[in-house]
């Protein structure tokens, strides 16, 4: 005989304002099997949980229904409470009367009716709940970090410092990421290389960190605590062990016609190259699409001059498989393509550049040695126009609806640095709003305006075209003075929106991590679990989760690392007991379930079964509960109903259907 207790939460007024919580409790008390029902202001609070505990003791409850917020929010809270007060945590069911009721309905009568029906369904389900025991699974004490930018490096260092092994997989030839392309960083103006390269060196030297550069994640299997990942080590054609990094090959390579990715195409690079001088590892790669030898079999200059004999044209991609307990995604960002923004003339005029290209021009290690010139003719600019929000906060389908967050600050930074170097420069910034929420950020921006005399104009640039004298003609509107502006400029810098790096969708699919419409990875909870993916064991670091600057990225990288450390420091993980279970009496041995199982968790063998009073040795299915993740695909493939899913059994779901349709 079941003794069910129902607990209806007001959630302050979140639920109680739209749902008559008292009536819900009173009505559900009349349901067969329900022996206790009460309502309370905050059921998840300590006092609320104690109410549940008291009722468990006084009424000897065998099952609990909490009518509250989403089970994705507090199912675990109430399960733990139940366990603390002496009943199996899996005898708890949640009726979601907040997100799926009070918050979306306005009519109190209607919402109350619905809440009662949802409660009734939960009661019907909990009547059939069985106590479940969670098992354990071992943890592989190694983490994988996908992406070797500042986010990935920081995460890896923090995990490694805690004593766990970390692999970094980076698809370019060197770690360093976007930050290595930057000149100086706001709001302190310290040089990016000065603060980044020591971290790159530390990551390379750390005994617990293994770098896989020029490598990509190929395949991901397994689950939290026990992921199996195939990593493709792309052919480098240069032996990492033999190469001394002397750089002779790059200097002598006769093929120097490939646009330099690291310098955003502002100059060209050789076919054998390291992206930048401080690259780690300091071992070049041969671009097989550019190398004359690899394309035609003729040349071989680098092999001839390499004293270390490190060049190997026969190298092949290599796939290695490694096991990990946790995976951190730190895939970073790129600037959006500007094909749809013809009004700025980016594709037609060399002197219209993105702000990341300006970073390269300003950088002492950049293509011009840090001398900012007009790319079209190499002359010094006199007037520079910055255009903000190019593709950001854009509600047309050309750009991104979100704010890229970093542009206001780096524009102020670039303007100030330029004024420092070239005090005679005339600098104008066209903006929609200037957004500077951050420590010392607004002070920084005000310095640009007040001390450096940068001309900020509220308004959007409508058109950039080439003037007859070879300069650029900028047409814009000044929204504050309500006037049209036409001005000549030598350089136009577009604060281009950022977007998650290409290929992140593929990675998210492999990890079964959810991703939003902008291709940013989704966090498990926007506020309370911001560095975890909803998929257990997958963590998020840096801009792959949403636009952020360097300090925020480093903070999030550390947070992700601490989550990983917490996970890896466990010897065993508690597994989800809501796994499939085969009632072997009814099993036909047909293998349909085995075919649809994505985890290989179902095996078949001959077993002795007592079937309808007779012993027989027959082929039946067994579920490996350590592998089963509880999707339920097998239960539908099974024609006889032998396969069922604990916690979401056929009878439970049918009971819910019946309760809803009653």
């Amino acid at each position: 005989m079941q003794r069910i207790g129902v607990f209806v939460c007001h959630c302050g007024t979140n639920i109680a304002a739209t749902v008559d919580v008292k009536r819900v409790a009173e009505t559900l008390l009349k349901e067969p099997g329900v022996v206790h029902a009460e309502d309370y202001q905050y059921m998840c609070s300590e006092a609320g949980q104690k109410l549940i505990g008291d009722a468990i003791k006084e009424k000897q409850l065998t099952g609990i229904v909490v009518c509250s917020c989403s089970p994705r929010m507090h199912e675990n809270t109430f399960r733990k409470a139940a366990e603390r007060y002496g009943i199996n945590p899996y005898l708890v069911e949640i009726a979601n009367i907040r997100e799926q009721c009070s918050w979306i309905h306005k009519d109190k009568e209607e919402a109350t009716e619905k809440a009662i029906i949802l409660g009734r369904a939960a009661v019907a389900k909990v009547m059939l709940n069985a106590p479940l025991q969670a098992g354990t699974s071992p943890v592989t004490k190694r983490a994988l970090v996908i992406g070797g930018g500042i986010a990935g490096i920081q995460t890896a260092l923090d995990i490694a410092d805690a004593g766990f092994e970390v692999d970094i997989v980076e698809r370019t030839p060197s770690i360093g990421g976007r930050m290595s392309q930057l000149d100086k960083t706001f709001p302190t103006l310290d040089c990016a290389a000065c603060i980044l390269t020591p971290k790159m060196v530390e990551a390379n030297a750390h005994e617990k960190i293994t770098l896989f550069t020029w490598s990509e994640v190929e395949k991901v299997g397994g689950f939290v605590g026990d992921f199996k990942v195939d990593i493709r080590k792309k052919a480098r054609y240069v032996d990492m062990d033999k190469c001394t990094g002397c750089g002779e090959c790059q200097a002598k390579c006769p093929n120097k016609k490939t646009p330099n990715e690291f310098n955003r195409g502002l100059n060209n690079r050789s076919a054998i190259y390291t992206p930048f001088a401080q690259a780690i590892p300091n071992v070049p790669v041969i671009d097989k699409n550019a190398c004359t030898y690899l394309k035609t079999g003729k040349c071989g200059v680098c092999a001839k001059i390499c004293k270390a004999g490190a060049i190997n044209y026969e190298a092949q991609d290599e796939i290695i498989t490694r096991e990990y307990g946790a995976i951190v995604v730190a895939t970073g960002f790129d600037t959006i393509k500007l094909d749809k923004f013809n009004e700025y003339g980016y594709n037609t005029n060399k002197d219209v550049i993105t702000s990341l290209e300006l970073e390269r021009l300003m950088n002492a290690a950049g293509p011009t040695g840090g001398h900012v010139v007009r790319p079209s003719n190499g002359e010094d600019p006199k007037t520079i126009v910055f255009v903000q929000c190019v593709g950001s906060r854009d509600t047309t389908c050309r750009g991104k609806t979100y704010c890229s967050k970093i542009c206001c600050m780096y524009t102020a930074k670039q303007a100030m640095l330029l004024k420092d170097h070239y005090p005679w420069l005339d600098i104008h910034v066209f903006y929609i709003d200037v957004r500077t929420p951050g420590k010392n950020f607004d002070e920084f921006y005000r310095r640009a305006v007040e001390e450096y005399d940068v001309d900020y104009i509220k308004g959007q640039v409508g058109k950039v075209s080439e003037a007859e004298n070879g300069r650029l003609l900028v047409q814009a509107s000044d929204l504050l003075d309500n006037r049209q502006i036409k001005m000549e400029a030598d350089l136009v810098v577009l604060a281009t929106a950022i977007e998650p790096n290409e290929g992140v969708r593929r990675i998210a699919s492999m990890l079964t991590a959810s991703i939003d419409t902008n291709d940013f990875l989704t966090e498990a909870h926007a506020k309370l679990r911001p560095v975890e993916s909803p998929t257990a064991g997958i963590f998020l670091s840096g801009v792959c989760q949403g636009p952020k600057d360097i300090p925020e990225t480093v903070a999030q990288a550390g947070a992700a690392a601490s989550k990983v450390i917490g996970l890896l420091s466990k010897d065993h993980l508690v597994t989800n007991p809501c796994t499939a279970k085969c009632n072997q009496v009814y099993c036909n041995g047909c293998s349909n379930c085995e075919k649809v199982c994505p985890y290989g968790a179902i095996s078949y063998d001959e077993q002795m079964v007592i079937r309808f009073g007779a012993r027989e040795t027959t082929r039946v299915a067994t579920v490996n509960t350590a592998l089963c993740q509880g999707c339920g695909a097998c239960t539908v493939a099974c024609p006889s109903g032998a396969m069922d899913l604990q916690g979401f059994s056929n009878r439970q779901i049918l009971a819910e259907v019946d309760a809803i349709c009653r």
């Binding site: 989403s70 089970p71 994705r72 929010m73 979601n96 907040r98 997100e99 799926q100 009721c101 918050w103 979306i104 309905h105 306005k106 009519d107 209607e110 919402a111 009716e113 619905k114 029906i117 949802l118 369904a121 998210a508 699919s509 079964t512 959810s514 991703i515 939003d516 419409t517 989704t522 909803p534 998929t535 809501c578 649809v596 994505p598 993740q629 509880g630 999707c631 339920g632 695909a633 239960t635 539908v636 493939a637 899913l645 979401f648 056929n650 779901i653 049918l654 819910e656 259907v657 019946d658 809803i660 349709c661 009653r662």
Partner: protein, 147 residues
Amino acid sequence: MSMNNSEWKPKIVAFCCNWCSYAGADLAGSSRLAYPADVKIIRVPCSCRVNPMFILRAFQKGADGVILCGCHPGDCHYSTGNYYARRRMTTLFSMLDFLGVEKNRTHVEWVSAAEGVKFSATMNKFIEQVRELGPNVRLEDIRCKQN
């Protein structure tokens, strides 16, 4: 069509996978994106957990429409679950149509955890479709011919 269509409220059962669509429904809720109270959601771990029997049971017990929501193909939390669900629902819905149950009473929509707007819009549209059809009587009467 029912006699008192203005009074009549359809019963809609929505099966939502825990990882994408149920979260999408939660997001619709926290974004206060309204849809009629006629929809009652049943949480399942994955769209592949939905046995066609559950859908038949809902219709037999008087549901006027059944909708299944899962992760977008390729984004299933369990990698492949929604691919199986897709085949199962395609063939089942076609069979229901073959039996004369209006095809606007059944629907599958892929809704991600980030698509609260889509969840709400999907429900509004589906309810409208079912309302146009009126109460469902067919499936529960399929073996009850009055002579």
